[in-house]
Amino acid sequence: MAFYPEPVARLIDAFQRLPGIGPKTAQRLTFFLLKRPAEEVRELSSALAAVKERIIYCTICFNVTDQDPCRICADPTRDAGVLCVVEEPNDLLAMERTGEFKGRYHVLLGALSPLDGIGPDDLKVRELLLRLEDGPAREVILATNPNVEGEATALYLAKLLRPLGVRVTRIARGLPVGGDLEYADQVTLTKALEGRREIG
């Protein structure tokens, strides 16, 4: 690596920091881009910059959006009486792809994770409680991932929400064990949603 010109070494280094990319892939991507037309590379770099400049979190549901409130929170046809709680924006997208869910979302931006030192205060939990105080819902669906962190988060929230008198449900466990919501196919996810059960 010592022999690469500085800009090349810098880009290789930047790619390597991305998840799932090792040194060889980082080199391949860098040399691939070097061969592409300048126009195409400029488009990529402006897309990278825009994602940080123009994308914000919705102040109601914490989904990523370019307008606040986001399109789902602003849509009057979406049922505000049913809230689906997910870990990450990706999980929200997976749920939307099923086309089955007509309520609204709350994104926690994470899950309880002792190994990473992440507790309830690091998630959008207080915001969820405030939201339910402002506009009571009939049902909260806990759609955190089926791994141990997601399950702990669901159990924690169920206990917290029970005193509010809202019906709290958990999506069914038919998902691949330890898998993420975002990788579940639409049929599986629809089934998990339909098979949800009351918890707590």
């Binding site: 090792g22 040194p23 060889k24 892939t25 309880l112 994770s113 002792p114 190994l115 030192g117 507790g119 309830p120 791994n147 141990v148 962190e149 399950e151 702990a152 988060t153 669901a154 159990l155 924690y156 206990k159 064990v177 330890g178």
Partner: protein
């Protein structure tokens, strides 16, 4: 079921191997360090995807190789399946294992390390009963892995200052998954005891009373609530020791021969025979659960046994389906296919 053929490439001390065993008893002899145990390990990896000797994938490829390949035919009454597995080093330096798994393929392995079931720490007995339970119940291994994850996270909270208030969701999961494990272990122990009572006397050639019991601090309880209550009772002590003190990870097996705990009684031959009997006692329950007989991989199973007992073992083995039995000494066994293992090659004797 049977293994019709095994193909190895860069596996341990086998550069290339193509081996067609018989569907009954295969006796493999050869001097020390020629590849007998490695061959059994290869057969085991083909059947189950995992090594019985190591959990480190990097140990399996021949020294200096970046990948190893295992392949072969698994024969079942309903047809033959060709399976393949590749274990290779990825760009980021980690090792990956990918390949086919047959839902009905099972291996029962006996090796010198099984003595630890009798004279080793409780973890060795838990490992034994979990391995057996995993061969009986497909859900056991995933639940065990999940339990370990929950336990690691709960222990981390116990080690963090002021995190007691965050234990609840982990307690609840620990109790649910923990009881699931305990339930399957108890059923595994029950199936084992019945068979062991027949197998051990048959191998020893004398009447003996053998008993296996599951030991848990939870007594006879079957509900997660009991485990939750036990956690509650130990809360102060757990906070002090910063460790989870109740659950299946603290349980043990009591194995008794003629009323004596096997950890304390003497003869090495007796211990080896009892360890072998525990493995042989797995065969019938595993056959019933999988719907087909498992393959037996018996590493040096006759050593330290006298000739009478050795003869009884061979008789019992003959009633199994496919068996691989290794020995550093030549063995004269009627009706067995005999193979010689030398420097990573297998030839008919």
């Amino acid at each position: 079921m049977q293994i019709g053929c095994l193909v190895l490439r860069d596996f341990r001390n086998y550069q290339t191997l193509s081996y067609r065993p018989t569907g009954r008893l295969n006796v493999l002899t050869g001097r020390n360090a020629q590849g007998k145990t490695n061959l059994l390990e290869g057969l085991g990896v083909l059947l189950t995807g995992r090594s019985f000797r190591t959990s480190r994938l990097a140990d399996l490829p021949s020294w200096g190789a970046e990948a190893t390949m295992l392949g072969g035919d698994l024969i079942h009454t309903e047809g033959t399946r060709t399976v393949r597995r590749t274990i290779q080093r990825l760009e980021d330096g980690t090792w990956q294992s990918a390949g086919d798994l047959c839902p009905w393929a099972r291996a029962i392995v006996f090796g010198w390390q099984d003595l630890a079931i009798l004279n080793g720490p409780p973890a060795a007995r838990r490992g034994f009963i979990d391995g057996f339970a995993a061969r009986l119940f497909p859900g056991h291994l995933p639940a065990l892995l999940r339990y370990r994850q929950i336990l690691a996270r709960r222990n981390r909270l116990l080690q963090a200052a002021g995190a007691e208030g965050r234990l609840a969701p982990w307690d609840e999961q620990l109790a649910a998954t923990g009881m699931e494990l305990i339930d399957r272990r108890r059923r595994a122990v029950a199936a084992l005891s019945t068979e062991l009572a027949r197998v051990y006397p048959a191998l020893a050639g004398e009447r003996h009373k053998v008993a296996v019991a599951y030991r848990t601090s939870l007594g006879e309880a079957t509900e997660p609530a009991a485990l939750l209550a036990a956690l509650e009772r130990r809360r102060a002590e757990e906070a002090r020791r910063r460790l989870t003190l109740v659950g299946p990870h603290r349980d043990d097996l009591a194995i008794e021969l003629n009323g004596t705990d096997t950890r304390t009684f003497g003869s090495r031959g007796e211990q080896r025979l009892l360890a072998l009997a525990l493995r042989m006692a797995e065969v019938l329950p595993v056959t019933e659960a999988a719907g087909t007989a498992p393959v037996l991989l018996l590493d040096d199973a006759l050593s330290e046994l006298d000739s009478v007992v050795g003869g009884n073992v061979l008789r019992e083995i003959h009633s199994a389906e496919q068996v691989f039995l290794t020995s550093p000494e030549p063995l004269a066994v009627n009706g067995a296919a005999r193979w010689i293992v030398e420097s990573g090659e297998v030839s008919a004797a």
